[in-house]
Every structure is written in C-alpha cells, then in structure tokens.
Amino acid sequence: MMDQSTDYHAVVWNEPMIYQLGREGRRGFMVPKVEKEIKAAVGDVVSSIPERIRRKAPPKLPELSEPEVVRHYIRLSQQTFGVDSGINVGVGTCTMKYNPKVNEMLVRSTKISHLHPLQDEETVQGILEIMFRMERFLCEISGMDHFSFQPRGGAHATFTNAQIIRAYHRLNGELEQRNEIVTTVLSHPCNAGSPAVAGFKIVTLYPDNETGMPDIEALKAAVSKRTAGLMITDPYDTGVFDNNIAEYVKIVHEAGGLVAIDQANANCILGRLRIGDVGADLCHFNLHKTFSTPHGCFGPGSAPIGVKKKFSKFLPVPVVTFDGSKYHLDYDRPYTIGKVGEFHGVIPNVLKAYAWIMSMGPEGLKETSEVAVINNNYLVKKLLEVRGVSLPWSKSHPTRMQEARFSLQKLKEETGIGAADINRRIVDFGVQRCFLSHEPWIIPEPITPEPPETTPREDLDRFVEIIHQISDEAYTNPEIIRTAPHNCAISKVDPTPASDPKKWAMTWRAYTNRRKT
C-alpha cells in the first residue's frame, strides 16, 4: 500500500485574536459624510438623547486599518477547510457537494442583493417569478402541491411542519387530545427536538436489532388517538432506505395523524421517488444539501417545506401567487400559522438552487442520484476491506443509499483507538474529518461518510487508503493517533472549558476579565 502522507501541512499563521492586533487610532472604514446643510438644520442631535440612555464610553472594539482587517480574515479563511479545499467525503448527513460558481456570480447582482423585502410588488416581479417557478420545480420533484421558503434550516423546517400539524388538529378541535409525535431514533434529532419545542410529547421508536429498522408492530402499538403525527427521516442517517414507508403512512393516517417526512438528504432519490406519491402530507428539502447551495460555515441555509393541497392554507405568509400576468405576495390567508421567520426566507439560496436545477435538468437530477448511490456503494465495498471496520445491519441491508454508518467498535476493542481518535488523525492527511453520528450512538464508535455525485473516484480511493493507513497505525503505532493532529494549524485542544463555567469564555472581554481576577 502506498504511504498516504503527502507531506501535507495546514497553514499555521498562529494568527492572534483580532483584539491583539488593534492599535489605538487606526481605522478601517470611512463613514459617509453628512452635508453641512443637514448639520446646520438639525444641530447636535446626539445631545437630544436623554443622558440616562446615552452611551458613555465607546464599545471596546479593536482598532485596525483596512489592510490589516483583510489580512486577518484572509488568514482565518486559509485555516478553514471547505468543499473547494479538498476531500469532504467523510462528512455524512451534510451532502458536501460542489457549489457551482456561476450560482455565486448570479447572486452578486444588485438586482437581487439590493432588493428590500417590502418593496411594491411591481418592482420585484423578477424575483417573485423565480420564487414561483422554483416552487413548481420542487413540487414536481417531491410530488407535493405547495412549498414555503421561509424556514432557514432543517430544524426550522421540522419546527414549521410541527406548527402546521398543530394548526390542523386545532382546527379540528383535536389538539388537546392529539399531543404526541412519533419518530424513530435513527431519524435526524430535529424530528424529535423541533416538535418538542413546538409543544408536542415525543414517542421514539428504536430499530430492530436484526434489521436496523423499526418494527411495523411497534409503530402500530405506538399510534393511537393521541397521535398528532409521524415525523421521520427516510432514508435514514444509516443510509438504509426504509421500505416500509408506505405502510407507515397508512398506519398513521388510519390513526388520524399526519405524516411529515424529512427529505433533507434527498440526493439519492432525485428522479426516482417522490415522497408525495408515497402519501406524505408534509416534507422538507435542504437546499444547502441536495440542491448544491454552499454551507457557509454553518449557514445561511434554506429548508423549504412542502405540503399537500389540504394543508396549504396553513402555510406561513406570504405565499407567491400568479394571476396569469403578474406575481403577487398573498398575506390574506385566515388559516395561516403566521410567520416562522422575518420576511420571505433565504432568497439568494433559493435563486442558487433554482440555477442548479436548471443546470442539471431532469436527466441531470436522475444522474445525480445514480452517481451518488454508485459512489456510496463503491465506498462501502472498499471501506469494509479495512481492518477493524464493519457495517452494522449489512446482512439485511447490504446496499445503502446516499451514505452508510460504519462501526469502528472492533478497531476500538483491538487497539483502543476509536472514532474520535480517527477524526483527530485523518485531518493530518489534508482531508476533512468524518461525521460520527447523531445521538444516541445506536451504533458503537460510528463514522458516517457521504460521497455525493461531485466526488471523483480518485478521491474515494484516496479516502479509503487513508483509512487503511490509520487502521494500520492503530494496530502498529497507536501513539501517533493519540497525539494527533500533527500537521494542522493547532495541536490537541483542552476540552474541559466545554463543561466548566469557571473556565469557559464565550467572548474576549469575558476571557480578559477572568485573567485579571
């Protein structure tokens, strides 16, 4: 096997905190001037602010010139590993696909960046047309009847769907009785967390030991007249497609509940399965995953929710309508759940995703799911050749969809090296770390890679070779893993402030005040 070290070393700037770079009197921006006629007309407006509410001392922000600010943040960007930087195959549930540059160029236009959300409809016909057409696209892709772009992330979308479920049962006079949401433990945690924050009780189903899927009988036992709805992810984070999904829908509908399917990771079903056809009442997509918009270091994302016709009256306001010649924003909807965020959602991302769909076309979407699934099963095959790596439930589910959750339990037992250690070592090779698992860890010592369609085969091969080498190290030289990382911008961090209020510092002022005392 080839040695996978390429003498990679991350940039080490040892960049100080921006506060440490500041020097009194420097400035990075000249504020637009006020005309002398204005000054003469209004006089000293600042002294009109009552003394008791007037700021005494300026905020202690750092003082830097423009070139210093640029250099500082360019250096920080160089110490950040994006999709464009290299292999991100390890980061499952996130769909780290390439973010096309043309889409970025499009949103730099002042024709979108300089639009105010409350402008007269006549002056925003272009963006309304794109929102309207994008809604039609997502309906065609999902089999749903309407979409709202207001939610900005998957958890926000599941929260919005939970509010629609509440509104539906409230209208039927059943909200007090129907206060339970059923979910599965292998669904994304927001399917439990968001409806709980919205006021529901949560019933969680666990996978069967043999099959890795919840038992149909367990679901039948869990639903009752208290069931408000089912909120699950399919395919699961394990990459297993739950082929009982149609049966679940039937069971929950018969019990009077609604069905919301989390389609955040829909990369593997594009053009092959429409959750609306399966009977889902509600769903959501993450444009920052399946639809190629960049992740922005953790947002802004966009997670449009889709609903069947029967539930469109509950959608957040406003919705975009078209009268045959003009587009409108309709706020006058008596059954709406209201607003779930300010204004219309992350519209630049809606535009980027719209551009991506146009670039791919229907064949391209189908090609996306085909190649994503080939990539993943190729990766599964090769990773299972690595000593210490296993794929739980591989007997019942040898084929996985967009990703797979492996276990390093055997490696851990035999060498003491587990998933978190691997993650500290893998970055030494100039690739991004692996996503482990959401909690609870049903699979011990998990890693969950996901190789989207934009990954070249050579990246998959290299990723596997690196895992091979780290596995070898675990068996022969575990110390190199225990002390990792060695080739990164920093060495092993002290994690104790994470849970020690006496040590933690969320701001520079808290940190410096603490040092003084």
Partner: protein
C-alpha cells in the same frame, strides 16, 4: 446525456468499473431497495439541462425586471435596512473556504471557529454582555430563544412584551405559547415610551421576563430602560432587551442598564438586504451557567491547546443542543447564519469603536433632517411620537385624507419607494407609514422625497 460538468464519475466507463467493484451488473440493482410500487417510473417534467451561459442569460433576464434600491430611492426599513456594505465584507464573505465549509472541527477549521468567536466577542462589546452565542436566523428567532431562556431560568410562564412591536416578530414569538403566555404592555400615545403604570399592573410573580426593544419598532428611543429593568427585577423576572446594533454607537448598551438577556438583528453589520434573505440574529446573556443551560443553541468558548500559548476553541455544554438532547432540548437549532456572523465580525472590526459611534451619529442626523423637512409639508405629521428617534420614524397622512397605499403608489411614479404601510398593523395611528433614513441617503435624496411628497399630497 453527455457527461455533466459537476459529476466526474458520470463517464460510462468509470461507472461500469465502479459497479463491477460493487459486484452488481446494473445500477438498477442498487435502487431495488425502493419498493417498485412507490418508484417513479416517468421522467420529471422540468426544464434543462442548460449550459452555464444559458442559465445565466435566463436568470439575468428574469432578474432585470427587478428595481433594486440603487435604481429607485428606497425609504423602507422595518427589520431589513439599506446600509452601505464595505467591499471588504463582500470580499471575505465570498472567500471560497468560508463559503463552502460546514461542520469541520477545530483542527481542520480553526479559522472558522476563531472568526465566530470574534463575532461573539465584538457583539459582547457592543451590548456589554460577557456571554454571546452562535448566531441564529434573525431577530425574531433570537427573541423567541431569549423568551424560552427566561422561562426556563425562572420556571415562570408569562412574558410581557410591548404593544409597539413588529407584528411579524410577535407572530414568531407566539410560537413560544405552549411554554408561556404573551401579554402586551401599553405605551404612551404622545412619546411612545413604555407605559410604566401599565407594566406595574401587569407584572406579577408569574412573570418570567419583560421584553423591550431599543430603539422601538417604530423608531423612537426607549428612555426608561433602566426603570423597566428594575421593575422586572423587583418582581423576580428577567429583563430582556432587543437592539439594533448600530444604535449602540450612541445608546447605552443593555448590559449597563441591567439586561439579563440581549438579542437583536445583525443585518446592518455588513449584509446586503437580499429581499430580506440575509438576516443574522444574535443572542447574549449574563455570564451564568443557568442561562447557557437554558438554551439549545451552540456557543463557542476559547480554550488552550497542547502547544503553549496557542488558542483553541470548543463548543460549550454540547449535551444541551438538540443534536444530543433531542426532545429535551429547550430550543431547536441547526444550520444557522455563520457566514453572516463572520461578515459582521469583519464589519465591526472595520468600523471600530469610533466608526460605530460616527455611523450612528450620521444616521441620526440624516433621519432627523428627513423628519424636519417632511414635517414642514402641509398635512403631514412626523414623527407621531415626540421623542428622539434613531434611523426610523412614523409619518402620518391623516390630514391629507390619503392612504399610505395611494401615497406610495404615487411616489413610485417619481422613482421613490415610500415607507412601510403600518396603518393595518396599528389602526390607532391612522394612515401612517414607517420611514427609514440611513447613512446611504444624501441630502439630495431626502430633498427629492420631500418634493415628491409635497406634490403627491397636494
């Protein structure tokens, strides 16, 4: 279709070799896990595929029908404001590494963690609070999270908010109602100031928190913040303050008048308006473990590394976030607005302590000039509330017998977008609009508005 430029392995030979490795003859074998009866058997009806040139041409043609605020003169604000975005902000926010990274840990993404810690730190300086968290979607979401925090810390279930509040924000706040009932406090019809008598009547031992905003939604400064905070504390309730950040160049930071929790909207700190699509909520609180434990949001802490003198970062109490706590989480969290937080850090470091003060003063001078000039127009009254304003102000058209809708339609003929129509939101204020004037407006812009308004209401 021919090999797509975004999909390297779509070359037929590559696919064939990969399928061979997998051990299947046909790719359809991999999709056999989807039961046949639910599989889509037709092609999706969508346009494309288009070449990059065709995509660009189609979208640019469609967008050309928009009239952005560099083509028409805009006086809209109300939660999304026209401010100048320094070029450095655009440069850094479009850096490929920041744009395309996601959830790497501190070893691969040190720069991302440091930039976000600097965002937390600078917001902390603006609002004078020691604990600042990861950004959230927008001010409305942040105020909802602040309320959930107050309810959890106090274990009480009533929240008081002002009557003068953005109805959209109130709608988001109302999603907290399974947890707490929301009651509204009156304000003085003359000055807009929170009605202390009404506050004292409504506050009780059930009150978890009193939420106010400064400046208020309708633009006036809230002068009695300290007293409101004292009343809240006297009743064992928490004091929550929502702020517009640039105003803090001139206004006392909430941390100095007793706020326990602070939230606000960061869009003015270097984000373009993007049709309301580039918002950035922030949340700060007292340095108290109970407060951090009372939210499911992420917070980054500074820590040390094995190399002497080198900083590292870590997430605080990760077990309380929804990722770990699932249904026990107090707030939902997920992909938020980190790129905008990094951009805001850039903006705050460019402006520095004196730039923030100057821009706040410029905004105040220009908006007061606009009020002064508009108030001289016959039949128009501005501002409705007699108190200093920051950036936004109410304009009343009752004496002109015109609706805001008709005034705004007429202004459009002059290439001007008037203020937000608030006559449905606040019927008691009659035919009124909320106008916004910032550093981007010149004297000429304001004079143009005044001339147009004069003609329109004549």
């Amino acid at each position: 279709m021919p090999t797509h430029q975004y999909v390297p392995n779509s070359v037929p030979r590559t696919k064939k070799e990969m399928l061979k490795k997998i051990g299947v003859k046909d790719v359809n074998e991999l999709f056999a896990v989807i039961p046949e009866e639910i599989r889509l058997t037709r092609n999706l009806e969508l346009p494309g595929p288009l070449s990059e040139y065709e995509v660009r041409r189609h979208i640019e043609t469609t967008l050309s029908r928009n009239k952005p605020c560099n083509e028409i003169l805009t006086f809209l604000g109300a939660g999304c404001w026209p401010h100048y975005v320094p070029s450095v902000c655009d440069e850094i926010s479009s850096r490929s590494e920041f744009l395309t990274a996601y959830t790497g840990d501190v070893y691969s993404d040190l720069g991302r963690y440091q930039a976000l810690f600097e965002f937390q730190s600078m917001i902390g300086d603006l609002v004078a609070m020691d604990m600042v968290g990861f950004p959230v979607y927008d001010w409305a979401t942040a105020s909802g999270d602040a309320i959930r925090m107050a309810v959890t810390v106090t274990n009480r279930h009533e929240i008081l908010v002002p009557k003068i509040i953005d109805p959209d924000k109130l709608s988001v706040i109302r999603a907290c109602e399974p947890l707490a009932s929301i009651k509204q406090i009156d304000s003085s019809p003359d000055t807009g100031q929170l009605d202390i008598k009404d506050l004292k009547e409504k506050i009780s031992s059930k009150t978890a928190g009193v939420y106010i905003e400064n400046p208020a939604y309708l633009g006036f400064i809230e002068g009695g913040c300290e007293e409101v905070g004292e009343i809240a504390h006297d009743h064992g309730a928490l004091f929550i303050v929502g702020v517009e950040p640039l105003s803090l160049g001139l206004l006392t930071p909430p941390g100095e008048y007793g706020a326990d929790i602070v939230c606000g909207e960061g869009q003015p700190l270097g984000m373009h308006m993007y049709f309301g699509g580039a918002l950035l909520g922030f949340l700060a609180c007292r340095d108290d473990e109970r407060f951090v434990s009372a939210t499911g949001n992420r917070w980054i802490s500074l820590t040390t590394t094995e190399r002497e003198g080198r900083y590292g970062f870590t997430f605080v109490l990760p077990e309380r976030t929804m990722y770990a706590a699932r249904e026990k989480a107090i707030t939902f969290t997920g992909t938020t607005t980190a790129l905008w937080a990094i951009t805001a850090a850039v903006y705050m470091s460019l402006l520095g302590p004196h730039g923030i003060r100057e821009i706040a003063e410029v905004i105040m001078q220009k908006s007061h000039y606009a009020m002064k000039q508009i108030s001289e127009i016959n039949g128009i009254r501005t501002p409705i509330f007699k108190f200093p304003h920051f950036k936004e102000f109410t304009v009343n058209f009752d004496k002109t017998r015109k609706t805001v809708h008709s005034v705004n339609k007429a202004l459009l003929e002059y290439g001007i977008q008037g203020g937000k129509d608030i006559s449905r939101e606040f019927p008691e204020l009659g035919s009124s609009a909320l106008y916004c004037v910032t550093e981007v407006h010149t004297k000429e812009d304001v004079d143009r508005l005044v001339n147009a308004l004069e003609s329109v209401v004549r």
